[in-house]
Assembly symmetry: C2
Amino acid sequence: MDTSFDCLSCFFRQALDAARRVSDDAGFHEQLLRQMALWIHEADLKEPPPVMAQRLYRHLYTLTGVNDPFADAKEKDNELALSLLPELKQRVVKSSDPFKLAVRLAIAGNLIDLGARSDLAEEEILHAINNVEEIPFSGDLERLRKKSEEAESIFYLADNAGESVLDQLLIQQLGPHRITVAVRGKPILNDATMHDAETTGLTDIVTVISNGSDVPGTLLSECTEEVVNHFNNADLVISKGQGNFETLSKAPREICFLLKVKCSVIAEETGHPLGNQALIWHTPGTSC
Amino acid sequence: MDTSFDCLSCFFRQALDAARRVSDDAGFHEQLLRQMALWIHEADLKEPPPVMAQRLYRHLYTLTGVNDPFADAKEKDNELALSLLPELKQRVVKSSDPFKLAVRLAIAGNLIDLGARSDLAEEEILHAINNVEEIPFSGDLERLRKKSEEAESIFYLADNAGESVLDQLLIQQLGPHRITVAVRGKPILNDATMHDAETTGLTDIVTVISNGSDVPGTLLSECTEEVVNHFNNADLVISKGQGNFETLSKAPREICFLLKVKCSVIAEETGHPLGNQALIWHTPGTSC
């Protein structure tokens, strides 16, 4: 999708959050914000929003040498999700519809998105997971159930650290043997990388590959050939989160997007209400 | 006060809101947002935030000839507040502490600030007024009670349309004969002007003067000599809202600020929690 005018104020919030994560120096914060203003002044709004985040964090790395300002946040969110996992596995197994609950918990994990929110509290994450069945859900779940039963190969595009721990619940339901999971190629925001997949045990249950890119989404033109092949040839592609949606909403194949609708731009683009757990089928040739 | 880094994303939101109020043309929206980006890139952050709003709306007027994009919104908010006024007068009279309730209702009206929020719904205004005594209140009310009893002259700086109708409740409690109210000199955001004061009956109960300026605040260097004289010489100055606070927080006299804390920047600057009804005494020589 294109960058919406409403994304521009969010870019500023992201830039300030990024600046504060790497430095206490107000002069540095100001420098980065003035740079962001210039980028916005000249921005190509045909680019999906994650490309601006890529530009911001590359610039930050050039200025400071810090290439993973979210390292601590990711570790904390992984630990939190891992601490919940045994009980959630039991909850899924005992559920009257384990598949549906696993989908809902995987989407609940998508709240852990520090690009959309700079100030996410642990209590909010716990509340969303504990009360997952009370959050409004929209989308054709039965189509996913049917497609996943038929698929011999599933390509699963992970999103954030912490969230990708809860993805294990859905991956177990789908059957790990036929799944390949893609994570980001380099640290960007709090998105999951191979390091997160390894330290949280994801690589022990399923094949995980790096997408080779530092965009907080899946920009196919910057992904490895292996990733593009999986994307093109898998019987089913499941894509988690807003960043993957923003970069793949015009893609030339069917995709099942699973995401928490975290901003009004995505609500408008998808037609799913703000705050919803959304399951969105993308049909080639459409923009959603 | 200076412009905070956190204000910058809000400037973008304001610019987009302004653009949408005067035009449906996406190309025009983009032009205005790119201009705002350039202003932010070059901004003097020592200016208080309302100066950026002044720049934005002056530019909008130059481009479109529309000088009062909030005219309909102001009329609607005035009508809403006027419809509530008779019942609120009764509620104040019957209260165990009419002065305190009038202060609280005047602050509740400060929610009607379309600079701070583009999407304010009538239900929220009604809820805030109906439940005014449940909203957290902070500040030294007894000092205001005492000072207002002693004062022979009170200078009252109004803020927004709709809000200034509810100010009538407090003005009646203070005693209109010793009060002069200042309104904005020209239309800016949804701030109250002489037109609002006249059409809502404020001019029938108290002396109202224009401050001569189109800043959504009180920038003394741009106000009329009459306003500056009142400001300097009144026994008590009562100032409503964030815009007046932002432009007068370093002023060389004692001021009693009454405002709803509507953003984290003001919460941090004042030390009063977000969402609170705040009564803030400014002492000359301090920055709050």
